[in-house]
């Protein structure tokens, strides 16, 4: 399947999940500044919202929205460790964290910091929203390795991809030792290292060196 990805975008979470469960994806890197695919095609032609990630399914359809894509992928591999948390009552705990990360941390918190048009007087407010949510995550992680307990889930892949953005906005993780240790723990996973290595190659090719 073709996977429309952006270096250091929230789509990193999808790549981590695919590598964790062994689903090979053919990465198509998107130039999000110009909203172009590598062959010059307009991104809007495959995603009318102009966003990444998008996944092209075997029948040619496109699926967008990271949360939907990650659930689609784990449901394809019902025997994987990652999918073990995608069933039963625990599933909703995993989804609960993903909803929080996608709405409060990604959209409500970080998104205005990335937008060049965001006025300076709104930035401190957005940073404060990020900080309050980082604190909530840190408190939650005081007595567990991953968001829902001892097992790495799709919610952790998602949280990691978004929390990495603190580096872009010079938000120091030091006040949140549990969160820092958690991100380091995830950063050591083979899936994460492979996904980030792929991102670095693309970032270099596009001419921007990410800090992440």
């Amino acid at each position: 399947m073709k996977f429309f990805h952006e270096s250091h975008g929230c789509s990193l979470a999808v790549d981590i999940v695919a590598r964790e469960i062994g689903i090979p994806l053919e990465i198509v890197w998107v130039d999000m500044q110009r909203k172009l695919l590598p062959d010059g095609t307009d991104l809007y032609a495959i995603n009318p919202k102009g966003q990444v990630p998008s996944l092209q399914l075997p029948d040619g359809q496109f699926l967008s929205e990271g949360l939907a894509i990650m659930q689609y992928l784990v449901d394809q591999r019902p025997d994987s460790d990652l999918a073990s948390t995608a069933r039963g009552a625990e599933k909703y705990r995993v989804l609960e964290w993903m909803s929080f990360i996608g709405s409060d941390l990604h959209k409500g918190g970080f998104m205005p910091l990335f937008k060049k048009t965001t006025p300076d007087d709104y930035r401190p407010l957005a940073r404060q929203l990020v900080v309050s949510r980082m604190k909530l995550l840190d408190e939650h992680l005081a007595d567990r390795d991953y968001l829902t307990g001892p097992v790495f889930t799709i919610a952790d892949a998602h949280c990691y991809a978004i929390a990495m953005w603190t580096h872009y906005h010079d938000i120091d993780l030091a006040p949140w030792p549990n969160l820092s240790a958690y991100l380091e723990r995830i950063g050591q996973r083979a899936s994460v290292q492979a996904a980030k290595a792929a991102e670095r190659v693309e970032a270099k090719r596009q001419g921007y060196e990410g800090k992440v």
């Binding site: 929205e65 939907a68 659930q71 909703y92 989804l95 609960e96 409060d104 048009t117 965001t118 709104y122």
Partner: protein
């Protein structure tokens, strides 16, 4: 099960879905500004994030996040039309819309609700919403609901958020398909009943 909710909050979507599925919920109204229940107790004890909705499950545990609660409720009634089973492509289409509504629409409105949001950013937030409304209007030009012919949990959520346009004096007239969609969803008995419950809670 007990649903913690607030009139005109995104919790309306959960009440609509429960009524569509014939799942009886006890309604517990929350003063979400003061973070108090009606008996004066602290709402943070129910939901550490201080947000609505929260669903108290039969075992006493609390589940938060509206888009997740509607999945929990619908999955408890297999074979329902509101959310197809895992594995069916139609399910991921519903999830795709749920996520769009939660991130782009819902969180698009959030800065307008916050008194501390500066005026300059309010204009940007309104412009972002107008872009999303245009996209929804295009999609709804050829189908009655977000995923096609059938009302889904994503429509309950989308309707709930679109109703906030009234609170912020955003006229939907430039998007006639979207305006017709809102009227179509508003006519459902589940929606009328859930909105009536909100009116009674406000009057009480």
């Amino acid at each position: 099960m007990k649903l913690y909710l607030t009139p005109h909050a995104c919790s309306l979507a959960v009440d609509i879905v429960a009524r569509e599925l014939d799942i009886p919920l006890a309604l517990e109204w929350v003063d979400v500004r003061a973070k108090k229940l009606r008996d004066g107790s602290d709402y943070y004890k129910v939901n550490p994030k201080g947000q609505v909705p929260t669903l108290q499950l039969d075992d006493g545990a609390f589940l938060t996040e509206g888009p997740v609660i509607v999945q929990y409720l619908a999955d408890g009634k297999p074979g329902n039309a509101l959310l197809p089973a895992p594995g069916a492509m139609a399910r991921y289409r519903v999830l795709e819309w749920l996520n769009f509504v939660g991130t782009e629409l819902h969180k698009g409105f959030t800065p307008l609700f916050r008194p501390t949001t500066p005026q300059e950013y309010r204009e940007i937030a309104r412009q972002n919403l107008a872009t999303r409304f245009k996209w929804l209007d295009d999609v709804l030009a050829s189908q009655p609901f977000l995923t096609g012919a059938t009302f889904s949990v994503a429509d309950a959520y989308c309707y709930t958020i679109l109703m906030w346009s009234k609170l912020h004096d955003i006229d939907l007239a430039p998007w006639p398909n979207l305006a017709a969609y809102v009227a179509r969803v508003a006519a459902r008995p589940s929606v009328k009943a859930a909105e009536e419950a909100e009116r009674q809670a406000k009057a009480a």
